[in-house]
Amino acid sequence: MRPVSSVPFLRRPWRLLAEVSALLVAVVVAFPLYWMVLGAFKPAGEIESSEPRPWTLAPSLDSFRRVFEQNEFGRYFLNSLVVAGTVVIVSALIAFLAATAVTRFRFRFRTTLLIMFLVAQMVPVEALTIPLFFLMRDFGQLNTLGSLILPHIAFSLPFAIWMLRGFVKAVPEALEEAAYMDGASRSRFLWQILFPLVFPGLVATSVFSFISAWNDFLFAKSFIISDTSQSTLPMALLVFYKPDEPDWGGVMAASTVMTIPVLVFFVLVQRRLVSGLGGAVKD
């Protein structure tokens, strides 16, 4: 795997052309994000101007102030964090156990189970909003954060298990045998040897459950119907976005606030994510 393996037989002007187009594409791809942050910092007069300029000479925090002064925005932010955090931790633990079971053991129905996990990933989550709504209502979970946490744990599990398989498989069986030889119990091996070794994979896998929970818009809209104190960030964002007369400064500021945690998470696990995807795809 040489990093520039295919460059040598590309002649110079072509490589230059390729590099210029790569940079151009990068600019185009990054532009919406730049425009979002720019819009968040533009003063009110500039953002609602018919001559939009790609810079601002008078950055202001007005839009952010509006966002944070909006009813309980901090609370929404916290709610989102609680939901995403709980989903990430709980689903990672459950997925770890399940992935261990399907990779370290041979048992009846193992293949069937794996296929079921694959099929479960295809289930359109949105279609299940209707039965889940009734389920949450019957258990008195409507208008609680639990109604957001529980379905997201369930929906992120199949993919997490599927992806973690590769990470668990990569831990040599000999290590397990050695641990048992040294008298370790099964649970000791599981938590003190296997868990730390698989942990990087768990982090990479968590990105997906984090994103699905953090970005969730449908469940928040459907299950949190009357108690707005239990609402999450996407709903707060929509407060600024009224189709007829959107407060663009507010929308961009709220979007920025909502995007940054995901970006940070992504950048932190970027490397693991790429190799993790490679592993999940290859297996």
Binding site: S5, P52, L132, L135, N215
Partner: protein, 335 residues
């Protein structure tokens, strides 16, 4: 214990290194070790129960929050279930396939189904095209442009669907957006026309989903031995020919995965349509199945019709999954 099996800490030391370094290393390092005869662990008395113990939490959660709702979805779609039954306390009546009959005789349903298929196909083709082209481009450039493109793509990937939707709307805003200024379109509204609204949503969907394809395919290309490509180039193959006759066949497993994933994601697009066309566009012109089901259920309280649409989606996606499993099996993948 058989003599060939590494024992104790020696074995642990020997195998530790690749594990800590990562899982992207070529498989086989661990396999060499485990070719030694399997020790007695498999036949321990408890080991038949242990996997189920580990699986129990996952099975409980999935059973309660995935399998049971799917069952309920099917059930609701067979009953008369509207506001009167939900809050009015009226008894639910069994409809058989009445809801489906009603759905299938509704011309709007067929229109939405067609729109969904065409829209998803457009998204998949564009996403794969852009993703593969950029993955190839990435292999042709040096570190700095590659890093720039990677970072930009990761940014687009990480952007939540809802913020991506609002930002793209803002970019194409008739009054304050930069796109109309640059293109000199005046106050042309992109969300007014059916096709242009779908096109705008497609742009956003491609923007946030091509990075997955690009990164995965790029990783796949990097794993192709350089000698193979050099040999093809020496034989005088053109770039296109190399892609078509060498890279594409070698990347087939990866291409299958990203294609199927894209089909599934793009068939289920919800947030983008809901936010960007304000719940399905003017007079529902931009509805896709997912949003249609939601609107039927929660906006007009026809829960059973909404569920029937959900079942139709489920069946279509299951068919896609079956194709996927077929393809995987033909490649001789072991699950």
């Amino acid at each position: 214990m058989t003599p060939g099996t590494p024992t104790g800490s020696v074995g642990a030391d020997r195998v530790r290194l690749p594990v800590v370094r990562g899982w992207s290393r070529p498989r086989g390092g661990s396999r060499k070790i485990s070719t030694a005869p399997r020790p007695c662990r498999r036949s321990r008395g408890r080991s038949q129960k242990a996997p189920w113990l580990y699986l129990a939490p996952a099975l409980v959660v999935l059973g309660g929050l995935l399998v049971y709702p799917v069952y309920q979805l099917g059930l609701i779609s067979l009953f008369q279930y509207t506001q009167a039954q939900v809050s009015g306390g009226e008894p639910t009546t069994f409809q058989g396939f009445g809801n489906y009959a009603e759905l299938f005789s509704d011309s709007q349903f067929w229109q939405v189904l067609l729109a969904t298929v065409v829209f998803a196909a457009g998204c998949v083709v564009s996403t794969l095209g852009v993703g593969c082209a950029l993955a190839v481009l990435l292999t042709r450039v040096r570190a700095v442009p590659r890093l720039a493109l990677m970072l930009a793509a990761l940014g687009a990937w990480a952007t939540p669907a809802i913020t991506g939707s609002t930002v793209w709307l803002f970019l194409f805003d008739p009054d304050f957006g930069p796109v109309n200024r640059v293109l000199g379109l005046g106050d042309h509204s992109w969300t007014y026309g059916r096709l242009s609204a779908f096109f705008l949503v497609l742009l956003e969907v491609v923007w946030c989903s091509f990075p997955f394809v690009m990164v995965t395919v790029y990783a796949g290309i990097r794993a192709v031995p350089a000698e193979v490509l050099e040999a093809a180039a020496l034989d005088g193959a053109s770039q296109w020919r190399i892609w078509r006759s060498v890279l594409a066949p070698m990347l087939r497993p990866i291409l299958v995965v990203v294609t199927i994933q894209s089909v599934i994601w793009d068939f289920k697009v919800f947030t983008q349509i809901y936010v960007m066309t304000n719940g399905g566009g003017i007079a529902g012109q931009n509805l896709v199945l997912n949003v249609y089901a939601y609107q039927k259920a929660f906006a007009s309280s026809q829960y059973s019709l909404g569920s029937a649409i959900g079942v139709v989606m489920l069946v279509i996606l299951l068919a896609v999954t079956l194709v996927y499993l077929r393809l995987l099996r033909r490649q001789g993948e072991e699950l």
